[in-house]
Amino acid sequence: MTFRKYLVLAGVTVFAAAGDSMLSHGMKQTGNISLHHLQSVILAVRNPWVAVGIVLLLAFFASYMNALSWADLTYVLPATSLGYVLLALVAKFALHEQVSPMRWIGIALITGGVGFVAGGPSLTSHEHGEKSPLLAKDARNGAPDVEVEPTISGVER
């Protein structure tokens, strides 16, 4: 894991949390949208909070795809759930909202789960490269800029 990869994972977490909260803030200003008037969803984009929220969620999607290109799905997903922890901390310390004990327990569980995954290898699939011709070709070319994680060789820690 390089510093840049940690940055990408941080991007996944932060963009998802920030995008979701901006969307939710904007949609509350827009008001209820009935299922029979779905076209009013399009008009909601004119709300600046909603617009910024969508841009942030696009950034989330880009970093999520980036992370999935070099790490397992079961490695990346806990990172996305860290967003809930981030939101609760922002609610508590920036917005001075009340965070219930149940939520604190939930935050502790998520943090513990992320700790479990983060301690292990980031990529366990494709250790022989046979599942993905592209990956196998890259590895054979031995391009010097290809970062080969020690765990790619299938060594299970």
Partner: protein
């Protein structure tokens, strides 16, 4: 009856999300490490390879289905039930699906993590 509909919608949301996540993860593994690819061949090659991947489009479609099922689920059930239940089910479903379809080594460490995070998400979002 209403709760049956709600749970059916929750399962639909979770299934569509799992299918979408698996397809997207598979697509990006086919594309390869985008950092290395970008440095070697430039941004356009990266974007071209992603947009030219069939699994990527199927994955995005599944995500869209998940999003609209979520809208329907929310119109039948409470946010405080639907959101955490769907998120937790997606989490557990992804761990199973990643092991079966992506051949990821979901060892004991990752199972514990999946259960902890699913429980935590249910508590935080509930």
């Amino acid at each position: 009856m209403k709760s049956l509909y709600t749970w059916a919608a929750i399962v639909a949301v979770a299934s569509a999300s799992v299918v979408g996540d698996i397809l997207l993860a598979h697509a990006m593994k086919q594309v390869g490490d985008v950092h290395a690819l970008w440095r070697r061949s430039g941004l356009f090659t990266v974007v071209g390879r992603i947009l030219g991947n069939r699994n990527f489009f199927l994955g995005v479609t599944a995500m869209a289905v998940a999003f609209f099922s979520l809208l329907f689920a929310l119109s039948w059930g409470d946010v405080s039930l639907v959101a955490p239940a769907a998120a937790s089910l997606t989490f557990i479903g992804n761990a199973f699906a990643a092991k079966i379809f992506l051949h990821e080594k979901v060892d004991r460490r990752r199972w514990i993590a999946a259960v902890l995070v699913a429980a935590g998400v249910a508590l935080v979002a509930g």
